[in-house]
Symmetry: C3
Subunit: 322 residues, 3 copies
Amino acid sequence: MTSNFFLKKKIKAQSLFPKQKIKNNFEIESVKPLHLAEKNDLTFFDSVKYKTYAKNTKSRICITTDKLKAHLPPGLEIVIVKNVLFELAKALKTIYPYADVDYPDLTLRKPSKKKYTNVKFGNNVLIGKNVKIGKNSIIGANTIIEQGVKIGDKCIIGSSNVIKNTIINKNVVIQDNCKIGQKGFGFIPLKDKNFKFPHIGKVILEENVEIASGCTIDRGSVSDTVIGKNSYLDNQVHVAHNVIIGSNCMIAGQVGFAGSTRLGNNVSIGGQAGISGHLIIGNNVKIGGGSGVVKDIGDNQTVMGYPAVSLKDFIKKNNKNE
Amino acid sequence: MTSNFFLKKKIKAQSLFPKQKIKNNFEIESVKPLHLAEKNDLTFFDSVKYKTYAKNTKSRICITTDKLKAHLPPGLEIVIVKNVLFELAKALKTIYPYADVDYPDLTLRKPSKKKYTNVKFGNNVLIGKNVKIGKNSIIGANTIIEQGVKIGDKCIIGSSNVIKNTIINKNVVIQDNCKIGQKGFGFIPLKDKNFKFPHIGKVILEENVEIASGCTIDRGSVSDTVIGKNSYLDNQVHVAHNVIIGSNCMIAGQVGFAGSTRLGNNVSIGGQAGISGHLIIGNNVKIGGGSGVVKDIGDNQTVMGYPAVSLKDFIKKNNKNE
Amino acid sequence: MTSNFFLKKKIKAQSLFPKQKIKNNFEIESVKPLHLAEKNDLTFFDSVKYKTYAKNTKSRICITTDKLKAHLPPGLEIVIVKNVLFELAKALKTIYPYADVDYPDLTLRKPSKKKYTNVKFGNNVLIGKNVKIGKNSIIGANTIIEQGVKIGDKCIIGSSNVIKNTIINKNVVIQDNCKIGQKGFGFIPLKDKNFKFPHIGKVILEENVEIASGCTIDRGSVSDTVIGKNSYLDNQVHVAHNVIIGSNCMIAGQVGFAGSTRLGNNVSIGGQAGISGHLIIGNNVKIGGGSGVVKDIGDNQTVMGYPAVSLKDFIKKNNKNE
């Protein structure tokens, strides 16, 4: 799952954290969350709610606080800091110097007909280095596909899209003017000049996904943003970084997801609903149009309102107010 | 009103529904809703609330259920099914094989100066086959106008727009980056692979309409999406399929309309309001910003809130809550 | 601060208002609000709430009503009308004939490498006349920068943006598909053909600003739209004309601002919140996601809800409703 979208510097643990007492000086492979990190990946632990992940992490180097360090298994190199996310952001910037801003892809060229046999291109399509496009796919006019993007077979991508840092599986449809794979809204607020958080994840669109016009789907920060198999997004939907949408979901127009929320399968969401960050939404959930979801929702629930409550409570509340 | 935007297969009633007992075997002309269908148009009847339309339809072939068929006039060829919309979708896919996905227009070319005299074009404009543009119109850079689109005189169309399946009357202004005429959000949900509902309607922008930047206006499914004379849409408005907006309406930024809703004339809607589908909103209605409209609204009403109620009730409700 | 983006006709006060008794016949320099107008600028006074500005204006010609004129200082040329904004719009249209619609820029060309040394351009970038771009800036593919736009050093502008009537300071980042500097939503409603209000202001992005993908930022009407130093906007944010956002603000995805609202510094706004027009929001204010702000907010407040109230009241209200 390692992303190859961002140039990575070779750097060893000791030189990344020169003021810390690192015993094992190995090269950092990547940066991953606690539950996804492998041995040589740098990880981070910033909230007690991840203590189970912390206990079981495979990583052997973790940024955390003095308070949280007791939850980590023995033998880990522990980097004690005051502000975990700030130190993480700085480490990411050192390892991945070009992931904090979407530097325009200057490798874009007209597609070579030799390379992309069995792909149809509209006018003025621009393709970056190492892009792969499956057979019988069509790419509409003025669309930009930046370096390293992979597109499966039989995909239909409309006009004026900008796609980067993304893996698209087969039979995916994207309409016009979508922006997919750009950096999400992440920074450490500092007066006069915020520190931009590098985002090294990607976007994965599973097979049979359909994305309507004018959507924005941000790539993951240190994991991925995923739209599950056969899920459909209507116009002007906004999906922030790290959001995971399950399969067979229906997301109506102008819905917005804040970062790191996770949806189950068969979820339907009405137009203009907003889903806060870091929530877990179960399977077979229905969320009414215009709702504001601020809490986790279990399987098979129907909710509505702002803040969203069960449909029964929503109706009761509105009757009482009449 | 028949759309010429989509390739139509010649197919007769009996071969379209081989398992049904069709007596008259005529060629299907088009597919229309009950009240718009002419003699040779296939129509459909899926809810008792359209029973008056059903009784008066001019069509002579209708998809419906065993339960609803009694409302249809005698002499009609009745196609009895369990799921009207699914059978309709399959019939549409057979008759119009390319209306279920927005296949990119591969006929786009630089505009011929000979053909479009008295039209000014910015750089890199792309025009499809059989496009008509009236005199003294201007089309901005990077805009794509797909095959068959008609644009009236004195229209001013900005940059980076994508316009398809659309009829634009005179004196219309469109700013930048709008997506007009693409397929709406319509499909029959099926596990692993939804059935995409073909949408064969178009978008009609009447004269003096103004559309600001970043709007999405989906074409109709089996009728049209219409923005009435002298109505203005602000930035990032989303208009779903089959919506009809009357004349002299003012729609502020980020408003969203779900499918098939109908607005009267002189309606004003504040920013970020959401209007549910299949509603009838009267003339001279005012809808406050941020409202969520879930019920029909009669003429001359002012409403606000989520769900939207009369302004009087909204104020009362909020005072009670303080 | 005079905008040079719009062609200005030389016109004297008496010929602009031939039916009024103008004594001093001087050339109108520009059109400005009461508090920004200099001696030869036309100004306007349409509401008693601006009476202090009226008393202190430096302008020597003002459009107002018979009722309001008493608040103006002696010696001013007073243009008495029934509808101040309509007369203002007509005067603007006479002085600035091309500011009522975004006429596409027909001066766009590929950037000259001689002129823009030390700037990197993606493919198909289009640049208008008199554009200035600072050193070490990068402009992504398919982006359009219209005439007169100024961009500072070290700016990173992504792909498929359309930027006009805008001043961008150094170190600004803009992602993809933004629309900046277009005309706002302003017109005098008239049956059959609204009168389009010319907007002669611009957009100013101060240094270190970051604008994510799919945002729309309208230029000012007779003043400017400003995004303050180090403020960040997430995807699909809509900023209407004349809005002023202070420094170090964080505006999450899909937030919308109606016209002429003014934000202080260090304001954070959650996703999908809507801010009504003509409000004053203080410093260090936090506005919850999905809120609808309809009243001014003092410094250091945290608000939430629709209409937005203090967080304490929001929680109380929701508990009472349970």
